[in-house]
């Protein structure tokens, strides 16, 4: 029952330790920044180490780097501290490490209440890492909720515009979603014959069908979980918190929000909905697909109308996260065996969208910081003034519209390929989104970076080395994954293969 290698615990809690150290020991704006960067870098190194040393051999265990000991022992709430990564979560942990570092760099200009700022930022990282690595439902939920407060603070204090309204909206929506999840977790636990929060046990076929029957119908559990994740993802029509939160959040928070927080929703769907309720996922796949397609198209169409750069990117996230739903919906394949394609695409989409929106938000952050506006009609001709930012933005934008050679393409392709086998017509509709995506991305680039450069932007300078570092980091990742996607897909497939096997066996 008790296993402890410590690496994962270190990865998860290193940022918290750093946060506390900043709060208590580190003084001076400069020191705080560099200390936070060092912590984030160390965490990135740890997460990459996990990623790199994850044993991909068939003989290796599904979950690795396990840290486990009883947390709340006893019969009434039998929970443990149980961390571990598999092929699905290892890349997401690495992503979190990567974006965590980028977020720190993106916060370099923060001077307002800097101590608190980095405290919350690092705490947020722990929460997200925890979500991706928890293998105990209760612990999972704990980390899931833990993320709320730091994000709320980051938006509400360091945001812009209607920041408080947006922060509140974010809080209430997510909280409402997790409320559903809590009920589901409790119901799962209480199902006669279950009595455990262990996600690895719950993922074995039939684990939820105790001898004495169900407490709640499996379908109800499935939907309770799904609602929580759909809010986070977000899926139409639960998405309305997202544009506000993104628009008003500070750059680093937007990066983390779009880059990893949304991924928690997708991860939850894959890990819990697909992993624990394979039968229900198959049964309701059509609903997922319908929701996914609506999100994809609706998000893209509404994106076209946006005039605020960040709001635009935010809505594009709605569209892109719809693809995750679509990819998961691929399990509804009616003839022939299910292949891993769609699920793998959904998982890839989580990673690639994380890097892409991360880069988009970083670039927009720089634009806003220097040009003091994000209103697209006021912008223009920035490519001449800040070529580096323009290139970064271009790369991210092109990746976002699914250009091959960049990471977005691979995930979109896999999602489409997988989903087409299950629901050809709906998928074909979703494919139309690549036109819409091209439309808004190129329009955005045209209006803000191209065109004649304006008088009032004459003094604008390009990104400084510190500002450019995260841009380069993410751009390299985007291109790298685009050129050599197997690096990730292989790992995701290791993680997803058991689920597919169950789906095929039970279907």
């Amino acid at each position: 029952m008790t296993e402890f290698s410590g690496l994962l615990t270190a990865t998860v809690f290193l940022p918290t330790a750093g946060a506390l150290a900043i709060l208590l020991f580190v003084g001076g704006d400069r020191n705080i920044r560099w200390f936070a960067a060092a912590v984030a870098l160390a965490d990135l190194v740890l997460s990459l180490w996990l990623f790199a040393t994850f044993d991909r051999a068939d003989s290796a265990g599904r979950f690795q780097f396990i840290d486990r000991f009883p947390w709340i022992p006893g019969e009434t709430l039998n929970a443990s501290y149980f961390l571990g990564v598999d092929g699905l979560s290892a890349p997401l942990v690495a992503l979190t490490g990567l974006l965590g570092l980028c977020a720190v760099f993106a916060s370099w200009h923060i001077t307002h209440r800097i101590k608190e700022y980095f405290f919350w930022l690092l705490l947020l990282q722990t929460a997200v890492m925890g979500v991706f690595t928890s293998l105990d439902l209760l612990l999972f939920f704990l980390f899931w909720e833990l993320e709320l407060v730091p994000m709320f603070m980051l938006i509400a204090i360091w945001g812009t515009g209607r920041k408080e309204y947006s922060a509140m909206k974010f809080l209430i929506f997510t909280f409402l979603g997790s409320a559903f999840m809590l009920v589901a977790i409790v119901a799962v636990y209480l199902t006669p014959g279950v009595g455990t929060f262990d996600m690895t046990l719950l993922s074995t076929p039939g684990a939820m069908l105790g001898p004495a029957g169900l407490l709640l119908p499996l379908g109800a559990l499935f939907w309770l979980f799904l609602v929580a994740f759909a809010v986070k993802l977000p899926t139409w029509p639960l998405h309305t918190w997202l544009p506000d939160a993104h628009t008003d959040a500070p750059t680093a928070a937007s990066v983390m929000l779009a880059g990893v927080l949304l991924k928690m929703g997708g991860y939850g769907i894959l890990r819990i909905n697909v992993g624990m309720f394979p039968g229900q996922t198959e049964k309701f796949a059509w609903v997922l697909v319908v929701l996914g397609v609506i999100s994809v198209l609706y998000g893209a169409v509404v994106t076209l109308r946006q005039t605020d750069l960040k709001r635009l990117i935010a809505f594009s996230s709605v569209s892109h996260m719809g693809l995750v739903m679509l990819g998961v919906g691929s399990v509804g394949v009616s003839q022939g065996a299910l292949t891993i394609t769609g699920l793998s695409g959904a998982a890839m989409q989580l990673f690639t969208h994380g890097t892409i929106t991360g880069l988009l938000f970083l670039s927009v952050g720089l634009v806003y910081e220097k040009a003091h506006t994000r209103y697209i009609p006021d912008l223009g001709g920035l490519a001449g003034r800040m070529p580096l930012v323009a290139i970064a933005f271009l790369i991210a934008g092109l990746a976002s519209l699914g250009l091959p050679g960049l990471s977005g393409f691979v995930s979109e392709l896999l999602v489409f390929l997988g989903a087409f086998r299950a629901y050809p017509l709906m998928t074909a509709l979703a494919v139309l989104s690549i036109i819409l995506a091209a439309g808004y991305v190129l329009w955005m680039i045209e209006r803000s970076f191209f065109g004649q450069s304006r008088e009032r932007f004459a003094e604008i300078t390009d990104a400084s080395p510190v500002e450019a570092a995260p841009l380069v980091l993410l751009a390299v990742t985007i291109v790298g994954i685009g050129v050599y996607p197997s690096l990730l897909t292989d790992l995701f497939e290791i993680g997803l293969e058991p689920m597919v096997a169950i789906l095929n066996g039970g279907g």
């Binding site: 909206k169 076209l304 891993i340 050679g405 045209e446 004649q452 050599y484």
Partner: protein, 684 residues
Amino acid sequence: MLDQLQVWAIFFLPLASFVLIALVVRPFLNHFSRISGLLLIAALAVAFLLSVQALVWTIQDKEIVSQSWTWLEFGGVSVDMGLLVDPLTAIMLVVVTGVSLLVQVYSLGYMHGDPGFSRYFAFMALFTASMLGIVLASNIIQLYIFWELVGLSSYLLIGFWHDRPTAAAAAKKAFLVTRIGDVGFLIAILYLFFQADEFAAQGLNAFYIPDIWIAAQPLAVGGLGILGGAGLLWFSLGVFAGAAGKSGQFPLHTWLPDAMEGPTPVSALIHAATMVAAGVFLVARFYPVFQASAEAMTVVASIGAFTALMAATMGLVMNDIKRVMAYSTISQLGYMMAALGVGAYGAAIFHLFTHAAFKALLFLGAGSVNHATGTFDMRYMGGLRRVMPATYWLVVIAGMSLAGIIPLGGFWSKDEILTGAWNGTGLIGPWVNQAVVAALLAAALLTGFYTLRMIIMTFHGEFRGGGDKESADRGEPAAPVSDDHGGPHLGESPKEMLAPMFVLGVASVVAGFLVNPQWIDLIGIPKHWITEFLLGGLEHNLLPLGVELHAPDFSPMMALASTAIALAGLGLAWLLYRSWTKQGVDQKEPLRMAGPVHRLLSEKYYMDALYEGAVVRRFFYRGFAGTLDWLDRNLVDGVVDLFGWIFRNFGPLVLSRIQTGQVQTYGAVVVLGGLAILVGFLLT
């Protein structure tokens, strides 16, 4: 092994130049930006030689063993990046590397002094590499990847002068419109995966192009028939949609004229010779599949022929020299598509080959003219024959080749298309063949007309002031519209620019006959060499459908007819424009007498207005997207905010009525509560 490496090198050389220029030259050596150009030219020169080598190997039927690299693997299917070198590929390789090489040399002069010099060559390198990637791809996903990258390069190069709003808009439009077609292509790929299990059952890979050919062979002739019926038709139409987008076929042609906002060498390379021909190449690549579906072939033929005719009509009235050429390009691509549709596979590629030469030359000539006058508007040109005679004669050669005047290159290829169409292959209904021939002949008439109109307006008569006058007429302060940054100077272009033009001129004159002699084995070149060569490659890959896979013999009647028609077009233009050139700028356009028809053509059949104004902007953007956006802001949020309002006002509105501070009301509520509970118990 060595062979394979050499072929790979064709692709990797420009790619490496791109990487080098983008990561080393541009950031660190920008003061020596000329290095970028030279680097790319060197790389392309080697690539060209290797391409020729590959062509020779192909001719010798030497098997180029290709190993592939598994890029991605999922659901039991692997996406392998590999080489597919067949005659089609070999010829395309030569065309792409050759034209690209020449255009780069030209650009060295044309782009001289531009601050984005390195960026330009980086993009050019990326383009060339991607284009070669398309040509070499052995896997449909590999092909799609480079297909999109070509679109990207095109986008970047059209928008090269990104500070010009029109250029930025044109770049966006080009990308978007071609992407509409790409949706079809992508769905076609998705369909392949849909069938992947059946492919796998036969030991085939659903994404490997030769396997797709095999899969498409109908059961009737002993094929596998994995792709068949409606599936095959939809697959073909999907692929054709992609091709139509890239090749500017109706109704997706509107982006190509706008794309002329890019630097002229870009237009020459991308929007005349190579990328737009990629659509034709794509259809040719999947010809074994198309061939299995008469409906698909009919669609290709009709769209091609219609485009050829329609684009030519718009070419008649344009005043911008590059737009005339752009419509001409669309028209000629229509020719090629139509040729493929009627089954004249070899002729289509042959025309692609000759067209690449003369159309590139025409564009380079236009660039040269612009270099001298500072404008693209032919109404401000005139009389250039005297100041730039070399350019003039080269343009005339290319123009006549375009018009199809014997014995220039264009004549032979166009003639072979017409003959092929006339003869038919029996794959599609004869009425389609007839209609195609009629449309193509009509297009030939118009081609002659606009070609000569363009030459006369540009080179004959008196000089009408150039770019300065144009700016003055527009009331703009002398903002040079010129591409080049040396400023306009009425005179012949520098040698770097003329030399490639000269090479292309030679090619335009001789290549047509040399590579495809019609009657005799010419100096060791067999009769109908190129078409037979191509058809040989094709034959390799498909089961006989009872279709004659040989180049049609030269038909004197057809040659006569087409020549007569071309001459008629030229003559008509001469009659109408001969006198016009003597007068001033404000002279009325002779074609205006056609009244509304002229207007219709000038407004490009109102298709841009329809697409952009009505469909996209008004209906979709304002109407549909606007409504959704409004709903999103107000409906969903409104409901959410309403709840918030209710919660917030619960206190002021409800609570303050009850919680009055009068303690006895509290006591009363306590008792009331107790009584209510009692009543509740008694009632249940």
